[in-house]
C-alpha cells in the first residue's frame, strides 16, 4: 500500500467522475490514513442541532469505500444520534467520556445551525439533574476538547435556512459560538459525502487543509460553478432556455451558478448520477453564505454586476452577497 503525499492526495480530491472519484481512488489510502487512539480509528463525535438531517442522509450516500465500512472500520463514530444504538442517558454519557478519554484527539462534526433563541432553550439535547441541556452548551463543551471542528452543511457553516428571513429561532453558525479551536467549513445543502470525507482525511492525515476566506477547503470550493458547467458554452453563445425543460443555459431562468463556488458540475451527486442543472433546474448557490436570502428568488435572473448590459460570469460572491463572514 503506497503512502500518498499531500500533493497527490489533493490531486485525487480534485479529480472527479466515477472512475476518479475521491473515495474510489483513495480506497486503500483512506483505510490506512486513520491512525488514531480508538483501536487505530480516529474518534468522531457528530452532533445535530437545527438541522433536517439531510447532511447525515447524504453522508450515507457515499461510495467506495462503502459507507458501512467507513462508519465501522475507518472511523470510530462515538456519537451520532441518527445511527447510534444507544439512547437516553447511556447515550449522553458518551460525550463527557469521549472528551475525557480522547482529549485533544477527537474530531467534532456539527450538523445544523446553533439555536440561541429564548435563552438557547429552543434546541436542547439530553438532561442534567432533570433539566434540559441546550445544544449550544454541548457544542461549546465538545469543541473545547476537540482536535478540530468540522461544520458540515450550510446551516452549521453560515446559518443557512433556519437563519433566513426573520431568523425566528435565533439560529447561528458554529463559527459564531466557538473559538480557540481549528474550524473547517464544509457547506452545501446538503453536503456532498466526498467533500466531508475528503476534508476529514486531510485533517487527520495531513492537518488543516488550505481554506478560503470562508474557511472552506479550496480543493472542493475553489472553482466557480459557472466555469465548470456543462452548459457554459450555451451561455457564451447566448443560447438561453425560456422554459426549464427546454435545452439551453438556465441563467435567465434564475441559475445562480456565477455566484457559487464548488465542483458540483464535475463531481455530481449520488454516485455521479446527476446534479441540479443536470435535471434542468437552476443552481441555487446552496454552498454560499447568502443562501437562501441572497440567492433567491430561485427562479428569477440574478442581478448583473459586469460592464453595462453584460452578465457578470464570475463575481467573487463574498463581494456581492453579504460580504465576508
Amino acid at each position: 500500500m503506497r503512502n500518498l503525499s499531500r500533493r497527490e492526495f489533493l490531486r485525487l480530491c480534485g479529480a472527479t467522475g466515477a472512475a476518479l472519484g475521491l473515495t474510489h481512488a483513495i480506497k486503500p489510502e483512506i483505510l490506512q490514513a486513520f491512525a488514531g487512539p480508538a483501536g487505530g480509528q480516529p474518534p468522531i463525535v457528530w452532533l445535530q442541532g437545527g438541522s433536517c438531517s439531510g447532511c447525515s442522509v447524504s453522508l450515507l450516500n457515499g461510495v467506495q469505500p462503502e459507507i458501512g465500512k467507513v462508519l465501522t472500520e475507518v472511523i470510530s463514530l462515538q456519537f451520532h444520534q441518527t445511527l447510534m444504538a444507544a439512547a437516553g442517558e447511556p447515550a449522553m454519557e458518551i460525550l463527557p467520556a469521549v472528551k475525557k478519554q480522547y482529549a485533544g484527539q477527537y474530531y467534532l462534526v456539527v450538523e445544523g445551525s446553533v439555536s440561541t433563541g429564548e435563552k438557547a432553550m429552543y434546541s436542547t439535547l439530553g438532561e442534567r439533574d432533570g433539566k434540559p441541556v441546550s445544544f449550544v452548551e454541548w457544542v461549546k463543551t465538545m469543541a473545547a476538547g476537540a482536535k478540530a471542528v468540522i461544520a458540515v452543511g450550510t446551516c452549521a457553516t453560515y446559518g443557512g435556512i433556519p437563519a433566513a428571513g426573520s431568523n425566528p429561532a435565533g439560529s447561528k453558525a458554529v463559527s459564531d459560538v466557538i473559538s480557540g479551536v481549528p474550524l473547517i467549513n464544509v457547506p452545501g445543502c446538503p453536503i456532498h459525502p466526498d467533500r466531508v470525507l475528503g476534508t476529514l482525511v486531510h485533517a487527520i492525515k495531513y492537518g488543516m487543509p488550505e481554506l478560503d476566506h470562508l474557511k472552506r477547503p479550496t480543493v472542493f470550493f475553489g472553482k466557480c460553478v459557472h466555469d465548470l458547467c456543462e452548459r457554459r458554452q450555451m451561455f457564451d453563445e447566448g443560447k438561453f432556455a425560456t422554459r426549464l425543460s427546454e435545452p439551453g443555459c438556465l441563467y435567465k431562468l434564475g441559475c445562480k451558478g456565477p455566484m457559487a463556488y464548488n465542483d458540483c458540475p464535475t463531481r455530481k451527486y449520488n454516485n455521479n448520477t446527476s446534479w441540479c442543472v443536470g435535471a434542468n433546474a437552476p443552481c441555487i448557490a446552496c454552498v454560499e453564505p447568502g443562501f437562501p436570502d441572497h440567492t433567491s428568488p430561485f427562479f428569477e435572473r440574478m442581478p448583473e454586476y459586469g460592464p453595462a448590459g453584460t452578465p457578470s460570469p464570475q463575481p467573487r460572491q463574498g463581494k456581492i452577497i453579504g460580504g465576508d463572514k
Binding site: 458501512g68 445511527l83 447511556p90 434546541s123 429561532a169 437562501p292 430561485f298
Partner: protein, 466 residues
C-alpha cells in the same frame, strides 16, 4: 411508581424526548416531546411562492420529496394549473423512490438495533441490554442486511437522482410539473436500479420482517394507540388526482369514511405556543411561548373532528383495505414492508406510462392573490401544506406534518396523542433498559424535524378558503 426519561430517543430524524411513568412493570402515563424548533413558516413569508418547493424540502432531509410534492400541489392549486401526464408520473417516480429509501433505512438502520445485537464497536455501543432473543443465525443475517440495506437505500437515492438531480433535496419537482423530461436513458437506468431494489425488498426485506415478527410476536399485542386512522392519499394515477395508489380516507371508531379536510384542526394547549395557535391550519397565528404553564413540547396536537388519529403505512394500508390484521407496534412494521413491496411494483408500471418527448411542465403565472392546499403522504404519514399568496408573494404558509399527528401531546380535553396512547399499558420489565418503549416509539418512524418547525408570523389573516 417509577419515572423513565429517554432523552434523546435516537435513531429517528430530529430531537424527541419520551417520559413515561411505570407502575408494577407497566406504563401508566406517557409524554412525547419535541425538543428543537426552527420556525419554517416565518422563514417562508414574503418569498416568491415558487421557492416554497425548495425551501420546504429543508424541513426534513429524510422525506424532502414529500414536502416538495405537497408544496407543488399547493402551488398547482393556487396557480390553477393542470400538470401534464409526464410531470405527474415523474413526480411519482421521484416520490416513490424516496418512499423505498425511507422504509428500508427505517427497518434496517433505525429499527433493527432495538432487536438485533451488533458488534460491540461504535456506533453500536452503550445500548440498552436485556431482551435480545434472535438465534445466532438470524442475528447474523440481520446484521449483514443492515449493511446491505445501506447500499440498497443509497441506490434508491441514485434512482431518484436520475430524475430529481440529487438526493436529499431533489430539484426537479416544481410548481406546474417537473423540470426533468422523460428521457429514454434515464428511464432505462431507473428500471435497472429498480430491479435490484425490488429483488432486495422481495427476497430480503420481506423475509427479514417475517423473522423479526416471529421472534418478537408479543409485539403484535402491544403499542395499539387510538386505532383511528387518517390518510390524505398519495401517488395520483390520473391527471385529475381522483384515483391514487393509496387512497385518501379516515377510519374513526371502527368506521371508514371519506376524508374531509375541513375537519382537521390544531390544538396548542400543551405546546410551547400562545393561545392564537389553536384552530384550522392556514388560519392559526402561531407564536413561540417557551415555558408556558402546562406545555411540554414544540409539537402541536392535530385532531380530526376532535379525534386523535394515527398516520403512516399502517393507516394507508388499513384505509385502502390491504392490511387489517391488527393494530400494534409489529403491525406497523409489517404494513411498512407490505407498502414497500407494492411501491416497487407501481414504479415499474409508471416507467412504462412515460411518453418520451411529451411535455412535463405547464407554464405558471403567479397570481396577485390566491390560496392553495397541497395534501400528500410522506413515508411516515399524512402531510398537508397551506399557502396564501398576496401581491405575488407568500403571505402565509403552514405545514401540518405526519409526526405532529403521531407524536402530538395531550389536547385541551386532556386526550393524549397517538404515540402517548400506544405507550400506555406497555410492559416495561426493566426500567433501566426500557427496550419496549423505544421499540414502540420507533414503530411510528417519527420525524421530529418536521414536527417542530411550525410557527407563523403574527400578521393579519385574510379569509382562507378551504
Amino acid at each position: 411508581m417509577r419515572k423513565i426519561v429517554i432523552d434523546p430517543v435516537t435513531r429517528l430524524e430530529g430531537h424527541l424526548k419520551v417520559e413515561v411513568m411505570a407502575d408494577k412493570g407497566k406504563v401508566v402515563s406517557a409524554e412525547a416531546a419535541g425538543t428543537m424548533y426552527r420556525g419554517f413558516e416565518s422563514i417562508l413569508a414574503g418569498r416568491d411562492p415558487r421557492d416554497a418547493v425548495y425551501i420546504t424540502q429543508r424541513i426534513c432531509g429524510v422525506c424532502p420529496v414529500s414536502h416538495a410534492t405537497a408544496a407543488a400541489f399547493a402551488l398547482d392549486d393556487a396557480f390553477g394549473v393542470q400538470v401534464p401526464a409526464n410531470g405527474r408520473i415523474i413526480r411519482n417516480l421521484i416520490l416513490g423512490g424516496n418512499f423505498l429509501q425511507s422504509h428500508i433505512i427505517h427497518f434496517y438502520n433505525l429499527s433493527l438495533p432495538d432487536y438485533v445485537q451488533f458488534p460491540a464497536i461504535p456506533p453500536f455501543t452503550h445500548h440498552y441490554t436485556g431482551d435480545y432473543r434472535l438465534n445466532k443465525e438470524t442475528n447474523e443475517r440481520l446484521v449483514g442486511n443492515y449493511f446491505k440495506a445501506l447500499e440498497i437505500r443509497r441506490k434508491c437515492h441514485e434512482m431518484v437522482a436520475l430524475f430529481g438531480g440529487k438526493m436529499p433535496h431533489q430539484v426537479a419537482i416544481i410548481a406546474g410539473g417537473t423540470s426533468m423530461t422523460a428521457q429514454k436513458e434515464k428511464i432505462d437506468a431507473y428500471r435497472k436500479l429498480l430491479a435490484e431494489i425490488a429483488q432486495f425488498v422481495e427476497k430480503e426485506y420481506a423475509e427479514d420482517t417475517r423473522l423479526l415478527a416471529n421472534a418478537y410476536s408479543d409485539y403484535f399485542q402491544v403499542g395499539k394507540g387510538p386505532a383511528n386512522f387518517l390518510s390524505y392519499g398519495v401517488f395520483p394515477l390520473d391527471d385529475h388526482g381522483r384515483d391514487k395508489l393509496f387512497g385518501a380516507g379516515v377510519h374513526i371508531g371502527g368506521k371508514a369514511a371519506d376524508m374531509d379536510i375541513a375537519k382537521v384542526t390544531e390544538d396548542a394547549a400543551h405546546s410551547w405556543y400562545d393561545k392564537a395557535s389553536d384552530g384550522t391550519p392556514g388560519k392559526t397565528g402561531t407564536n413561540a411561548q417557551y415555558g408556558k404553564a402546562g406545555a411540554y413540547t414544540w409539537v402541536k396536537a392535530p385532531r380530526y373532528g376532535g379525534e386523535v388519529c394515527e398516520v403512516g403505512p399502517l393507516a394507508r394500508m388499513w384505509i385502502s383495505g390491504r392490511y387489517t390484521s391488527g393494530v400494534s407496534a409489529m403491525d406497523r412494521i409489517v404494513a411498512r414492508t407490505l407498502e414497500a413491496a407494492l411501491i416497487t411494483k407501481a414504479l415499474g408500471k409508471w416507467l412504462d406510462e412515460l411518453e418520451p418527448g411529451a411535455p412535463c411542465e405547464a407554464a405558471v403565472e403567479i397570481p396577485y392573490a390566491a390560496s392553495g392546499i397541497g395534501l400528500v403522504e410522506a413515508p411516515r404519514g399524512a402531510l398537508g401544506h397551506w399557502v396564501t399568496i398576496r401581491n405575488q408573494r407568500i403571505e402565509r404558509y403552514q405545514a401540518v406534518v405526519p409526526t405532529t399527528w403521531n407524536c402530538s401531546p395531550r389536547d385541551a380535553g386532556g386526550t393524549p396523542g397517538a404515540l402517548e396512547q400506544a405507550l400506555i399499558g406497555l410492559p416495561v420489565p426493566d426500567a433501566d433498559n426500557p427496550l419496549s418503549v423505544v421499540r414502540t416509539v420507533h414503530s411510528f418512524d417519527p420525524c421530529l424535524a418536521c414536527a417542530v418547525h411550525v410557527i407563523t408570523p403574527g400578521r393579519p389573516v385574510g379569509e382562507f378558503k378551504l
